[in-house]
Symmetry: C2
Subunit: 495 residues, 2 copies
């Protein structure tokens, strides 16, 4: 079949999408998401709404997409339901106003849920690709995300064929999905760079209903130099790792996972700039710009992720060095990059950012004051629960010191005291492993809390140890959220 006859404009492709459909879009943390069709779809929705006609879709993705997709569709009031992750300002606002339904799910399980039938499958997949052949071989662009699952499960496929990368991405993908139970075999990945699948996704070419030519890059902000607080946190982590290695508790060769954001970037940057640092490998979600600095300083063995997030400058570097870089990079479906089986097997050292941590060891990664979602839990739990050693990092205060990141009780709980290992702020590092709850509370307050809040936290702990019915986790339910309530009423957690 000649697929070229399916070529059309983004506007024409957007006309193919019906009200109430479930769309499965490519894209993971601003890498490889469709741009032209969602923007055209948003315009179409606005036209239909102006005519008094309903038009909304459910939107499934890998993770966050760019403003051309999540932002445009949210502003057009074209999204009814969204899963499993987002980071767009306008979309977030609409979710927190209760205008868009949102399921904030573990990134490693979303595709598995769709394949098992726990979630309905997308009716239309909109996937950014760099190549598509007449017999249905699709080469993805800068992310794998859930694209394989969407391509397999959707009734119809719209391809955004992006010419920006030429064939520079050819061979970077490892398209493999785990078997579904009850006849599943082990996932044969035992090293970061193991390749176990194909470098393209095979689809039924009959399902492809549109091919839209594009050439716009991912809208990724340029890398910014780590600030002092991030550098201090990174320093605590590197010092601790060296200490653990010296104690014989940390074999060399364990890969790192690095969450998205400034602090995680600062750790990689610090490694890149440390002349004593041995070369490392990464088994992570997002291959971020800081990874290029590791390569340039000859400290990267290899990096496995589900997305390659490049600002315009980093993209230029990648395109100029694609042949060499691709030997060091593998992009996998997020079902594999975030799979408990592989993460536990490799013994990943996980580094994720917290919004707040409580004194008994729980972590909130997703919701402000328990109710407003920031981005989502993302893959943090996929890694933190299955890693060999896990760090949660956060500056000890936020908003000019009016918020303490260490609180009596997290207002939303993503990672429980049963599984968190290490908390780090610029104040210091608390190794919680094997500590009972009261010992954890003292350690966290002493090592991690900001001095401005230390007395307040100790006062709470003293009160709760006295007043709690049980002394195992002496929580005072009547005062556990007082710091949050004070912030909500007075604009500061400070007494």
């Amino acid at each position: 079949m000649q697929l070229s006859c399916k070529t059309m404009s983004a506007e024409e492709a957007a006309e193919l999408i019906r009200h109430d459909e479930i769309l499965g879009v490519s894209g993971f943390t601003l890498a490889g998401y469709p741009k032209a069709v969602p923007t055209a779809l948003a315009k179409r929705a606005e036209r239909l709404h102006a005519q008094g006609k309903p038009f909304q879709v459910s939107l499934f993705s890998g993770a966050s997409t760019g403003d051309e997709c999540d932002g445009a569709l949210a502003r057009a009031n074209a999204i009814r339901y969204r899963a499993p992750y987002q980071s767009n300002k306008d979309l977030r606002t609409a979710i927190n106003q209760g205008k868009i339904f949102y399921t904030d799910a573990h990134l490693g399980i979303m595709g598995h849920w769709i394949r098992s039938g726990a979630l309905p499958h997308p009716t239309t997949a909109i996937i950014e690709a760099t190549e598509v052949s007449d017999d249905g071989k699709i080469r993805l662009s800068t992310s794998c995300g859930n694209s394989m699952e969407f391509l397999q499960m959707a009734d119809r496929i719209i391809v955004e064929l992006n010419s920006l990368y030429g064939d520079a991405l050819a061979g970077i993908h490892d398209c493999y999905l785990p078997d579904m139970p009850p006849h599943a075999r082990p996932i044969p990945v035992s090293h970061v760079l193991d390749r176990v699948g194909t470098d393209f996704v095979q689809v039924d070419p009959e399902k492809i209903v549109a091919i839209v030519h594009t050439q716009a890059g991912d809208s990724v902000h340029p890398f910014t130099e780590p600030d002092e607080i991030s550098k201090t946190i990174a320093g605590h982590i590197l010092e601790f790792l060296a200490h653990e290695r010296k104690k014989g508790r940390l074999p060399s060769g364990l890969p790192y996972q690095s969450g998205v954001g400034n602090v995680a970037n600062a750790v990689l940057t610090a490694m890149a700039r440390n002349p004593l640092q041995e070369p490392i490998s990464l088994f992570t979600e997002v291959i971020q710009e800081a990874v290029f600095e590791l390569i340039q300083s000859d400290k990267l063995i290899g990096a496995s992720g589900t997305a390659l997030t490049c600002s315009a400058k980093a993209r230029e570097y990648f395109l100029a060095n694609a042949f060499a870089l691709k030997r060091k990079f593998v992009l996998r479906p997020q079902e594999v990059s975030n799979h408990p089986e592989v993460i536990r097997r490799l013994g990943v050292i996980a580094m994720n950012t917290a919004i707040e941590c409580d004194i008994f060891g729980n972590v909130n990664s997703s919701h402000i004051c328990g109710s407003s979602v920031m981005n989502g839990i993302g893959g943090s739990a996929d890694f933190s629960r299955n890693c060999l050693l896990g760090f949660f990092m956060t500056p000890s205060t936020a908003k000019n010191g009016t918020i303490s990141a260490i609180v009596p009780l997290v207002s939303h709980l993503d990672h429980s005291d049963h599984e968190t290992d290490i908390f780090v702020t610029e104040q210091g590092l608390a190794d919680l492993r094997g500590l009972d709850p009261v010992a954890r509370a003292h350690r966290i307050i002493d090592a991690c809390s900001h001095p401005d809040y230390r007395q307040q936290l100790n006062d709470y702990l003293n009160y709760s140890v006295k007043s709690a019915k049980g002394k195992h986790i002496p929580i005072a339910l009547d005062r556990a959220f007082n710091m949050h309530l004070r912030f909500l009423s007075d604009g500061s957690m400070k007494e």
Copy 2:
């Protein structure tokens, strides 16, 4: 070496243990724990305390042990620190009085933590066995638990050689531990009855310092008939499974995990007594007495667990039919029975008991009013986070209706809204998959809460939807624990 010359009394063996040691004992949920030496050690501790001498140990186990171990040592004030699980009344009381430090950990990770160095290794292992050879081959008894790890890592080994089972348990164990990173291979278990290790544990015979002969059975309470509430819950689950199968969302052949307790037992019993039930397999922690009824009604393909929990009556049945039964049973180390890799691969259907569930989908499995530990999180999260489909079951009220199991916010969080699938009470079943938080709240209140508490929960939800700053998870931090606080002050959650 002639190990028989290491034979001694329990009292003599107890003399070998020093103050401040870390003991690693066999045993998982009252199966296969050492009995004579811990009891003798408790007596020794009491004698030393009477002389004004300090004597306390840290106690690591598989999971809960019997009163001869956990109870005797707790009453003797001989435990300083305990991990990862317990269910003994006196030990629990001491923990909740703040007299014993307790780390409540996921059961599948404890052995891995010890092998990786995250926790210190036991200095002395006290392991119940049914056979020990001069060249250091140890045949375990009714549980595997963490015994392999303790035997490998401990400096010294005390064996309680129990003659009660003769050779009836020979061949039931599959002694295999996953490789440690960074050079780990896949765990080659793809079916419930796959055997991938040896049927004994090999130790260095030089490490064995004592062999104590015993013949006492595990102190397991006899099976009780399911009550009406448990039967109703079981009915909801079986009806839902049939519905899912009909919808094509549940392939046949998926194994079940069944938590410990009346409700979980009721589900297995209902399956055993349903003439239309197809034979099932179990990939679980504890092979409980209800499993025998499945066998007798020809409905068990096979059961994999880490413990075989037998009351005196069930033990009699097992001993009389050991040869046939062993072809249907495998006992594995809890690192394997509870391993995310294997649970996810097999597509386990998980059924666990909750203490309380909240309207947004979070579950508390471990702590009463947030502060008093009941038993512990156990393996519930190992299964619920990695299963294909997970149920949390609880009667809708407790303590004569003064406690609602459905609350605005759980007072301790073990399983987050990001990962819970299905809640079931005798009132009904709520399928939460894919629902946003507010939809979840309505579903849970309507389907699962007791009518006596429904108005109160709806009033809270209405208030919180209005008052919460963010509407994604409209939680009202000022009233979230009001039902718990009312119970603590008035003895009832009722308004």
